[in-house]
Each structure stands twice: as structure tokens, then as C-alpha cells.
């Protein structure tokens, strides 16, 4: 099962990282295209340092990767990290699919 493959620390980092709206927005953007940290900073009403901090949290959670290119830091989405969140949702979906089957059985009795 998915949870066995992830350490508690990894899970904590993953969900802490996704619990913030700005960080979720960063993930969405860099999954579609690449951004520099300064390019991202220009998008939000917060300091460069604050955006840099968000990027660092996302990097620790393996949701993004950061790479130096010249004087710029280029941020890209990390597919594997998002894949983990998706797998957890898959588990939850399985629970609901079972519930729906049981509901259908109950309704069929009538």
C-alpha cells in the first residue's frame, strides 16, 4: 500500500506543503511550465524572501525541483511528488467506491 512506501516524515512534508493556497498555486503553475523564483515572486503580493521560503517548503516535500541556470533559480513541478498525493486520493476513492456499491445493494432491496 501507498502509505507503507512513504515515511511519516515524507507524508508530513507533503501535506504541510499542500496545506497553503500560495504553495498550491505555485505547484499548479510550475507543473504546467517552468518559472524562475523571481518570476514567481512577481506574481504574489509578498516579498521575494517569502516566495523563496514557499519554494523551499515545496522542494523539501519533493513537489518541485529547483535548478540553477546562470543567475536564475528555475523551478519545475516534480511529477513523482504529486503522484504520491494522487495515490493517497486513489486510496480514498476506493473507500467511496465500496460505499457506493453497498448503497446500491441497499437500494436494490426495495
Amino acid at each position: 500500500m501507498v502509505v507503507d512506501q512513504l515515511s511519516e516524515t515524507e507524508l508530513d512534508r507533503l501535506f504541510q506543503a499542500l496545506a497553503d493556497a500560495t504553495r498550491r498555486d505555485i505547484v499548479r503553475r510550475v507543473t504546467i511550465g517552468e518559472y524562475s523564483v523571481s518570476g514567481l515572486a512577481a506574481l504574489y503580493a509578498m516579498s521575494f524572501a517569502a516566495v523563496q521560503k514557499h519554494v523551499a517548503v515545496l522542494e523539501r516535500a519533493s513537489l518541485i525541483t529547483k535548478e540553477k541556470r546562470g543567475r536564475e533559480q528555475i523551478v519545475r513541478g516534480n511529477h513523482d511528488g504529486l503522484q504520491k498525493a494522487r495515490q493517497l486520493l486513489d486510496e480514498y476513492e476506493a473507500i467511496w467506491r465500496q460505499r457506493v456499491e453497498r448503497i446500491a445493494d441497499i437500494l436494490a432491496e426495495k
Partner: protein, 165 residues
């Protein structure tokens, strides 16, 4: 097919599940409104749920436990935030301690259930929104025990199909 579609958004931590049943909206509403019916499907056969408190009204509280094969009893709670029979139900849900008191620092999830008539069938849409990492993790931990029963449930369904044929 009962489940029509499911949409997962890993960035926002949401799951949307759409199912259709050969039943009326009132019948589908009953499986939520009546706690004795709810108990028959909320937990899998090996982890049945027992609702000790069920106030089916806006602001109402629900308290339940599940009984595992080894007698373990994880507890959960709901806070019902919207009831519009027979079309819409909203509630927060989370984990409770052994006395049934919400474990507040774990946080809560939110569920929005909508029920609508589609021809002679009824569509039920469930939107689950996770709020915190700890809460989601707990949900999955609890869900894993259920997940292990999935294969068994499918086998049971096949057997009963055969016996009906």
C-alpha cells in the same frame, strides 16, 4: 455501472465522486437520513459503523465508532452544516478520542453531497475536501483497513451474482 466518474485534484486535495442509482432521490436521501441505513454502508462488513448520536439537522452533531475484527473501536464525528431534503447535505467530519470528543488539532474534512433526479435514476455527487495533512493522513490510515477489504468485497459480489444467475 454505479460509479459514473471520479475526479481527483491532488493539488487542492479534493475528490469528486459521481454515482447513479436505480432509485428515487427520496430513497437515496434515506440512506443518509436514517442512521440505521447509514450504518449498513458507511463501514465495510468487517468494520461496521455504529452511530450513537445522529442529529440530522443544520448544526447537528453525529458521533460514531467502527468495530474492527480484533475489537478495536476507532471513533469519528460529524458536524452537519446544511440539510436540504432531498437534494443537499453538507458536513464536517473528523476523528474523535475514546470518549467521542473531537480531536480538534487533527483538523476536519468537509463533504458536500448533492442528489438529483436524472431521468428515472438518481445521481449522487460527493465532494470531499481535505483540510490538513494530519487529517488526510488519518483518513487514509482508517481507509487502508477498509481498502484491504476491497478485494474480499468484490469476490462476495461475484459470488452473489453467480447465485442469482
Amino acid at each position: 455501472m454505479t460509479v459514473i466518474s471520479s475526479t481527483k485534484n491532488p493539488e487542492a486535495l479534493t475528490l469528486t465522486l459521481v454515482a447513479e442509482f436505480d432509485a428515487s432521490p427520496e430513497q437515496v436521501w434515506q440512506i443518509w437520513e436514517n442512521p440505521r441505513q447509514l450504518e449498513r454502508w458507511w463501514g465495510p462488513p468487517t468494520w461496521p459503523a455504529t452511530f450513537e448520536q445522529y442529529e440530522f439537522e443544520p448544526g447537528g452533531k453525529a458521533s460514531y465508532y467502527m468495530t474492527g475484527p480484533d475489537g478495536e473501536k476507532p471513533r469519528g464525528w460529524w458536524r452537519i452544516t446544511s440539510v436540504q431534503a432531498p437534494t443537499r447535505l453538507e458536513f464536517d467530519d473528523g476523528f474523535a478520542d475514546e470518549n467521542g470528543a473531537p480531536v480538534e488539532d487533527i483538523g476536519a474534512g468537509h463533504a458536500i453531497v448533492t442528489i438529483e433526479e436524472i431521468g428515472d435514476r438518481t445521481r449522487m455527487t460527493i465532494l470531499s475536501i481535505f483540510e490538513s495533512e494530519e487529517q488526510m493522513k488519518k483518513m487514509i490510515d482508517m481507509g487502508m483497513e477498509e481498502g484491504m477489504q476491497e478485494a474480499a468485497g468484490q469476490i462476495d459480489a461475484l459470488i452473489s451474482e453467480h447465485s442469482r444467475a
